[in-house]
């Protein structure tokens, strides 16, 4: 009996033998768990509202009338979205929004890319004041431009047109486009451009054939940024238009007299592009903000 007992104690001792301090390990594991928990809480705060608006927009009208509302998608229906899309001005607003976004993007690239290139590559007098001027315009509130622009557009016959909104949005996006593209061009080594010149390219050819391909990813990110800005801008678009509303302007101006289902569907349609844009931009976000704020 006693023999077996001793072996038992020895094995026990052997098991405990290498006296390792497990506390740091436990602390590390606990910290990891706290880290995950904090991340999950924040993710819930960020994602839950988007889930809820998606849920409301894909519930039938009858389901939206119920109380308490169901938190799980057990009443999937496209009725709410269909009714919304068939409301006056929504489809037209959607088309206008896409048109305004694309034209804004193109116009701000046409004007902004050469300017960004000049800021990145040339030492010219007035370069610093020019950059200060760009920073200054970024701080101007949209509302300051919108009201006087509405009057000017009324006089020139541009009021209530896609072009009017495109002009305003381009003015808003241009400073950022110039600052981003200039930082993109700064990242393209000068040597390759000079090599192209040595091999017989004209300055324009060197730019188009060598610099542009290397700058495309950054410029694409800047373009998406411009489109998002235009898609989201609501104040100027509603002041400058009457019948040619963009989607957010249409939703805003019909807020007061529209049923809840309409507003939920509108909110969902406005949020969906954000999910897509950020998905494509997520790798560029920190770089863009890191470079543009300087």
């Amino acid at each position: 009996m006693s023999h077996t007992k001793t072996t038992e104690t020895t094995t026990q001792a052997a098991r405990q033998q290498p006296e390792v301090d497990r506390r740091p390990l436990a602390r590390q594991r606990r910290n990891r768990m706290l880290l995950q928990a904090a991340c999950i809480v924040i993710t819930l705060f960020m994602a839950l509202p988007i889930y809820l608006i998606a849920l409301s927009a894909t519930s039938s009208r009858a389901a939206l009338q119920e109380f308490p509302l169901s938190f799980i998608p057990d009443n999937f229906s496209l009725e709410t979205m269909e009714t919304f899309l068939q409301s006056t001005g929504i489809l037209g607003g959607l088309i206008n929004s896409v048109q305004v976004g694309i034209f804004t993007l193109l116009l701000s690239l046409i004007i902004g890319v050469p300017a960004g290139y000049a800021v990145a590559r040339f030492a010219f007098p007035g370069r610093d004041p020019y950059q200060l001027f760009l920073l200054f315009t970024r701080a101007l509130p949209i509302v300051v431009l919108s009201v006087p622009l509405a009057q000017l557009f009324l006089q020139t016959g541009l009021y209530d047109s896609v072009i009017a909104v495109v002009l305003l949005h381009t003015a808003l996006a241009l400073p950022t486009t110039i600052l981003i593209t200039s930082s993109v061009f700064l990242g393209v080594p000068r040597d390759v451009e000079e090599a192209a010149r040595i091999f017989g390219c004209s300055p324009v050819q060197a730019f188009l054939k060598v610099v542009m391909p290397m700058a495309i990813p950054g410029i694409a990110a800047a373009s998406i940024f411009t489109f998002v800005m235009s898609w989201n801008e609501v104040l100027g678009a509603s002041i400058l238009t009457l019948n040619q509303r963009t989607l957010p302007a249409q939703v805003l101006t019909s807020l007061a007299e529209s049923p809840l289902a309409y507003r939920f569907a509108g909110g969902f349609l406005l949020v969906v592009p954000a999910l897509v844009f950020i998905f494509f931009m997520r790798r560029y976000l920190t770089n863009m903000w890191g470079s543009t704020i300087r």
């Binding site: 991340c39 300017a115 101007l140 104040l235 957010p248 509108g266 406005l270 954000a274």
Partner: protein, 304 residues
């Protein structure tokens, strides 16, 4: 978070340094002027012209220059409450957003499992407009919305969160929606700032026995100062322009200054008073912007 295929702009590329250590720039004044001319013409037409005519409009009346528009503006019952609401919102919201954004950025830097998915989800509101944010949170706070549904499932009485006589809960709703929407901007700027800080500093402080809070307070935050300053000013200027979130959530019950401009222009059809209000917003933004430029200047002169 450093992406392998980051745009060339972000990668600091070694290049032959000029005499002053900066990349040599070409001298080509006429070419440069030709390239920036369209942008200058465009901006002058769309910023300069409207600004001048906006100022004239604000002081304009049927019989010449007048301050009557400003008198009408300040006598409107909504004006002072909109100023108060805007300032209160900014004062309460900005500290919350900065603490939250800093915490989020530090969490991401600790590289938890799935950090890129977290980053994506936390950045989504960056591309959500304030109108959409208001509508998103309307599903939560409306009388028969999800928050009251949750309360009901616990057997609690529903609350009219957005009723005009319930100022505190109305303010909370607008505040939460704005914190949700606009913290992402600060978060992304702070993440970008953290990426540019070498880890060595913190590790060195750790070796010398500094705890987490010491390292944060004495090492990380001072190094983050440029990013935090930029984010602060940018966020403040943008916060002055918030209006649709309150409109979507509360209608006219929680007026904000820019929302008042919109109401004077579209509802009351008075472009002159709307211009006067816009001028107020612009003046406040300009003062902030000048502070912004001053801070940027100080920071570039200070040793980093």
């Amino acid at each position: 978070m450093a992406a392998p295929d980051a745009p060339a702009a972000a990668r600091p590329q070694p290049r032959p340094a000029g005499p002053r250590g900066r990349p040599p720039r070409k001298k080509g004044t006429s070419a440069a002027m030709l390239l920036i001319a369209p942008s200058i013409v465009f901006m002058t037409l769309l910023f300069g012209w409207p600004m001048v005519s906006g100022i004239l409009q604000a002081f304009g009346g049927p019989e010449g220059l007048t301050t009557a528009n400003f008198t009408r503006m300040t006598q409107d019952p909504y004006f002072w409450s909109s100023v108060g609401n805007t300032l209160l919102l900014i004062v309460v919201m900005i500290p919350i957003q900065f603490v939250l954004a800093l915490a989020m950025a530090l969490l991401i830097r600790a590289k938890p499992k799935g950090s890129s998915a977290y980053f994506y989800i936390w950045a989504i509101p960056l591309a959500v407009s304030d109108l959409a944010a208001g509508l998103v949170w309307l599903t939560v706070f409306t009388d028969r919305g999800y928050l009251n549904s949750l309360l009901a499932s616990f057997g609690l009485e529903p609350v009219s969160w957005l009723a005009y006589d319930n100022y505190a809960s109305m303010f909370m709703a607008v505040l939460i929606a704005e914190v949700w929407r606009a913290t992402s901007l600060v978060f992304v700027i702070v993440v970008a700032g953290l990426q540019s800080i070498p880890k060595d500093y913190e590790e060195a402080a750790g070796v010398f026995g500094a705890g987490f809070w010491d390292r944060l307070w004495h090492v990380t935050l001072p190094l983050l100062r440029p990013s935090l300053q930029t984010a602060l000013i940018l966020r403040t200027i943008l916060a002055f322009q918030t209006f649709a979130v309150a409109l979507a959530l509360t209608g006219q019950n929680f007026p904000l200054v820019v929302g008042e401009t919109y109401r004077w222009y579209t509802g009351l059809q008075d472009a002159n008073v709307a211009s006067a209000l816009a001028l107020v917003v612009m003046t406040v933004s300009m003062i902030t912007a000048i502070g912004y430029l001053k801070l940027l200047k100080d920071q570039s002169e200070a040793p980093r």
